[in-house]
């Protein structure tokens, strides 16, 4: 199975235009070999970022998608070109971070297909891969273990020091943490990029504000079946009185022969 970035590098060399669908994980949109948009099932897209920020309503986004595209969105004046570019930039880099390391499960390329938010920012494939590597390195520098990235976020009930300083993202994480949601679920709830939540979570972990992830549960001891209960247990199966007897006639014959042999000895 070829990795996704080698596949993308090939499409970039061919200056391909179209959409690369990666199973159910996401879609990468290219225009003349440059990435224009990327969707990932795990991370919030640019539309979600814009709507969560309160800049554009969901209805306005739907209207623009159906007719007019980005030009209409900019004309209506609720969002500036800079903001639109920043939303696309953030969403694409975030999607790339979670999508690219995977192997291409049944990738399918459809030439000519475009995303309506594409064309705001053009990424070259090598640059995207480099930025993802840089981000991974940055995470590792803050807190080396990736265990917390997928585990439920569980803040400690009491901070280790007298006072703590939190960034905006960290505050939002702590407020939303319900002991069950994982960082990526929190990202979708808050409407922030998944990567910024991972950064916040790792910084919280480095500051000792998160409980360590639960060790995988030990295998449950199999329930003792009914018939294996000790004999004094009232629920134990009934046992016959006296020692167990074998009704085998061969034993009786053996005993008689033994008796006879012993008598002859004396």
């Amino acid at each position: 199975m070829t990795s996704l970035d080698t596949l993308l590098a090939g499409l970039a060399r061919e200056r391909a235009t179209g959409a690369l669908r990666v199973g159910r994980n996401g879609t990468i949109f290219l225009s003349e070999g440059r990435v224009t948009y990327m969707e990932c099932a795990q991370t919030p897209g640019a539309e979600r970022l814009l709507a969560a920020g309160g800049l554009v309503t969901e209805a306005a986004l739907r209207r623009a998608r159906a007719d007019g595209g980005c030009a209409r969105l900019l004309e209506e004046g609720c969002v500036t070109r800079g903001e639109l570019q920043y939303a696309v930039l953030g969403a694409v880099l975030d999607a790339a971070f979670f999508l690219l390391p995977g192997v291409g499960t049944r990738p399918k390329f459809r030439p000519g297909e475009q995303h309506w938010l594409g064309g705001q920012w053009f990424f070259d494939v090598a640059g995207l891969v480099r930025e993802c590597a840089r981000r991974r390195e940055q995470l590792a520098r803050i807190w080396p273990s990736a265990d917390l990235d997928t585990a439920p976020v569980r803040p400690v009930p009491c901070p280790p020091g007298q006072s703590v300083t939190l960034s905006k993202a960290q505050w939002e994480i702590l407020v939303r943490a319900d002991q069950v949601s994982t960082p990526l679920e929190l990202a979708r709830q808050i409407g922030r990029s998944g990567y910024s939540i991972l950064l916040g979570v790792r910084r919280l972990a480095a500051a000792g504000l998160l409980a360590p992830p639960e060790a995988p549960a030990l295998p449950k001891r199999a329930r003792r079946p009914e018939d294996r209960r000790p004999p004094h247990d009232p629920r134990a199966a009934h046992q016959p009185l006296g020692p167990q007897v074998t009704g085998d006639p061969a034993d009786l014959a053996l005993l008689l022969r033994l008796k006879k042999a012993l008598e002859e000895l004396t």
Binding site: L55, R135, S167, R192
Partner: protein, 124 residues
Amino acid sequence: MLGLDTCLAEVMSIPGALDAMLIDHTSGMAVAFSTASGVDADRSAEALTEALRATSDGLSRSSPGDYVRVDEMLITTDKGHHLLRLLDTAFEGPLALYVRLDMERSNLALARHRLQAISNQLLT
């Protein structure tokens, strides 16, 4: 209409500007940068992000009972000025517009004024 890619040309037209960069404060990534010789954009973006974070952490500890929201940071060295303007966005941690100014040729008041005008055009 100014975009993230085109705003740097405006920033570089400020008298005395030597380098300009647009930084994503959350990830420490250089979103756009003017092509300057001998500057590693990725590393300098990361370093400036750390400088900003350290500043706002330090200020929040030294001003108890108050919110700290850094608008602008100005550092003067023996060779020139470094001006960082933070642009709050609605959805993600702030963008930072950075410009390095020549000591002799720049006018600090003018540069601050221009930088503010550019940032107002960039984001609502």
